[in-house]
């Protein structure tokens, strides 16, 4: 094997032995999101990833951490070195970094800092054959081979058991300011250059601005609305997450009672209580390309046509087209031919 760059090698190997090559296993983190994707078969043997921070490298804007490390421990260790990763943790339970990556939910600061998948530079995992595998490399930019690390994000432990990861970190912004206003959130987005988060409950809009003091002041000066500073964002309903193309939020919100939801503007996520009807009849959102809007110029070889608004009919909770679904299934089959990893849990 090659130089691993990791000081926790033997511990990783022990973990690989524990997972082994046979029999159903389910990989457990902090169990804070255990029900996502369905409960695993109770007969599956439980395994846990090693825990501990291997190295915080602020000059590289990177951290190497074992997958079982509690998120809170990681956040504190990074804070001490003036770094951060954009993830949110609230008070309950002890979620782990492996669990957060495997669930794949991004922070409410995604608008500025990007989705959680963009954090992952290298992964070490135990595959279904019990072998320790490395994907990616510990550098911020890398196209050496296929991107296994990103494919693992959001895969709910169904492709392999994460043992250790290298994440990209960011310098902690010196100032972070939440404000609240009654202005239109879509207009506010246009007025600001780099807001970290814009949340809307149908009545009020919360905005997070981060950066140096001057940066935040400069952004605030661009706001045409009256606003007030607040300590924290609104409470997010935890019952359901609805994923929409960002422009569909406006229409979708008309079917919801104001204050019964919190929408992430510019991102497209809506947080709801579980008792809220989340799929209004007649509305659907599709991830499909605008198949119905093939540019007429394509057929006749004429000049480009530009459209400035989307005419794609949204379709909610769209199921995957058959050939695409087949590739998703094949991914699971090829990475776990015997179906031993988190049996019973599925993304599809």
């Amino acid at each position: 094997m090659k130089e691993s760059g990791s000081v926790s090698r033997s511990e990783l190997e022990l973990f690989a032995e524990e997972v082994g090559p046979e029999g159903p296993v389910c990989i457990v983190g902090g169990r804070t999101h255990w029900e996502v994707g369905g409960l695993p078969d109770p007969s599956a043997r439980e395994v846990r990833a090693p825990s501990g921070i291997v190295q915080v490298l602020p000059d590289e804007m990177m951290v190497r951490v074992r997958a079982g490390t509690p998120l809170r421990e990681l956040i504190i260790a990074l804070e001490e070195k003036g770094q951060m990763i954009p993830v949110d943790v609230d008070q309950q339970g002890s979620p782990t970094i492996g669990g957060a990556l495997s669930v794949g939910w991004s922070s409410i600061r995604r608008l500025r800092w990007g989705p959680i998948r963009d954090l992952v530079l290298e992964i070490r995992y135990v595959n279904a054959a019990g072998k320790l595998i490395k994907g990616g490399a510990p550098v911020v930019k890398n196209v050496s081979g296929f991107d296994l690390p990103k494919v693992f994000v959001g895969s709910l432990g169904t492709l392999g058991c994460l043992a250790e990861v290298v994440l990209r970190t960011q310098p902690r912004p010196r100032v972070a300011k939440w404000i609240v206003t009654e202005g239109n959130p879509f207009e506010i987005r246009k007025q600001l250059f780099r807001p970290s988060s814009i949340l809307w409950d149908g009545i009020k809009t919360w905005v997070l601005l981060e950066g140096s003091g001057r940066e935040v002041q400069a952004e605030l000066a661009c706001l045409r609305e009256h606003f007030e500073e607040v300590d924290a964002p609104p409470h997010l309903p935890k019952g359901k997450r609805v994923s929409l193309r960002p422009s569909a939020i406006k229409q979708y919100a008309t079917s919801l009672a104001p204050s019964s939801y919190v929408a992430e503007i510019g991102v497209g996520l809506v947080h709801l209580d579980s008792n809220v009807q989340s799929t209004p009849p007649g509305m659907a959102l599709s991830p499909l390309p605008p198949g119905s809007i093939v540019d007429p110029a394509l057929q006749d070889g004429g000049s480009d046509t530009m459209r400035t608004t989307s005419t794609a009919e949204p379709t909610l909770g769209a199921s995957l087209p058959t050939p695409t679904l087949a590739v998703h299934k094949r991914l699971k089959d090829f990475f776990d031919p015997m179906g031993r990893l988190n049996p019973g849990r599925s993304l599809l």
């Binding site: 595998i133 492709l159 599709s286």
Partner: protein
Amino acid sequence: MQLASDGFASLVGALQSALDPSRVRSTPIENVLYGRDALGSAGGSAGVVCFPLTTEEVQECVRIAGRYGHPVIPRGSGTGLSGGAVPVPDEGLAPVVIVTTKMNRVIEVDEDERIAWVQPGVLNLDLSRKVAHLGLHFAPDPSSQQACTIGGNVANNSGGPHCLSYGVTSSHVLAVEVVAPDGSVLVLGGLDPEPVGYDLRAAFVGSEGTMGIATRIAVRLTPLPPAVKTVLLGFPTLDSAANTVSRIIATGYVPAAMELMDQRITEAVEEFVHAGLPVDAAAILLVEVDGTEAAVEEAARVVAEIAHDESAISSQIAQDEATRAIWWKARKSAFGALARIAPNYYLHDGVVPRTRLTETLRSVCDIADSFDVTVVNVAHAGDGNLHPIIPYDGRDQDQNERVHEAGNKIAQLCVANGGALSGEHGIGLEKRDLMGVLFGDDDLVEQDRLRLVFDPERIMNPHKVLPEGSRCSEVAQLLARAGKAWA
């Protein structure tokens, strides 16, 4: 190769009846023209070259190639630097090269959502130009952006100077419509933030044409910054320039771009572009900060202070857009300017942790000396992404060998220093056999597994990225044991 056989003639005939015959070509000229990419040193031979206009035409081409059992090579503008688009015959069968450059329409722009659907043949810079009036741009900006296609950017997960703060192509691709190796159409990813299923979009971006052909791409558009400041710094030593990079990162300011050029390349570029670069400096840095007016003032001041502290011998801030443009032109024409030094150049793009930039640059020079070749250095320094360039005369066989040996050593050096083989140009053919330096056998088999998920028959761009030995053979057996079908 099977060029003259009946089988080949009937393959060409089938393709010509599916597409307009003028868009299916197999003359010796096309054979050669589409037999290489910008790597230059690796030559293949295109069997038949197709220029489809629509997704449906791409499907037709792929299905016909599949029926005749010929490999398919996706191709954009051929500016790739790792031989990714070089057609390699598979078991003697002539490759069907599918060129996407005529699929060059911007299909839809949603200004509010900041998303564009484009065909793969749209040139990178054309997209930014077309949306500039909306105050938007496509952030990945490879130096080849006037010529390379967005399909090529997606396939190579390309970077560029401004990817330091904006992220590489993968961060700007929301969804891709793909013609799969069996001719079916897949939609990977979505415009919503949490599309259903696995992140197959992520697998496809950077797959170098081995997983299918991108036929429509939904890209994220980024607002143009309200203010930009570009600082040109000259340093007495390479070390002081590299130290400045590390120290800027350590302050917590992440500039939009931070590019390094050594003296030799600066001289060559200056002669070519006349940008007023400080040719007396051992190294120069081009640093760009963007954001709100107040933020860029502050960041530019910090950059200048650190540079001063590191004994910079010159420091200039672009006072107008024309100066900024010519400085960037100078940086982006670095490779072109090398034609003044020698007829060919060989370029690696290894990446190292940024704190090891100085020592790595020094070792690169030592390696060049030991092979008696000249090296000049350009680097996306903020990302630790080196571009050591070796100018040479390809007609000289001995030089040729020394240059490639030195290149291999440089790639290995990057891995030994805790980095990776390629930061943005991809593995292709060129670095395929070096993959074992970075990965173990099991790691490579696992990557082959991912490739097989998309292309179980290995039809798409065969012989690229993974060394021939790293084949995942157990999938078929295990699936059979589990009573499941193979594809």
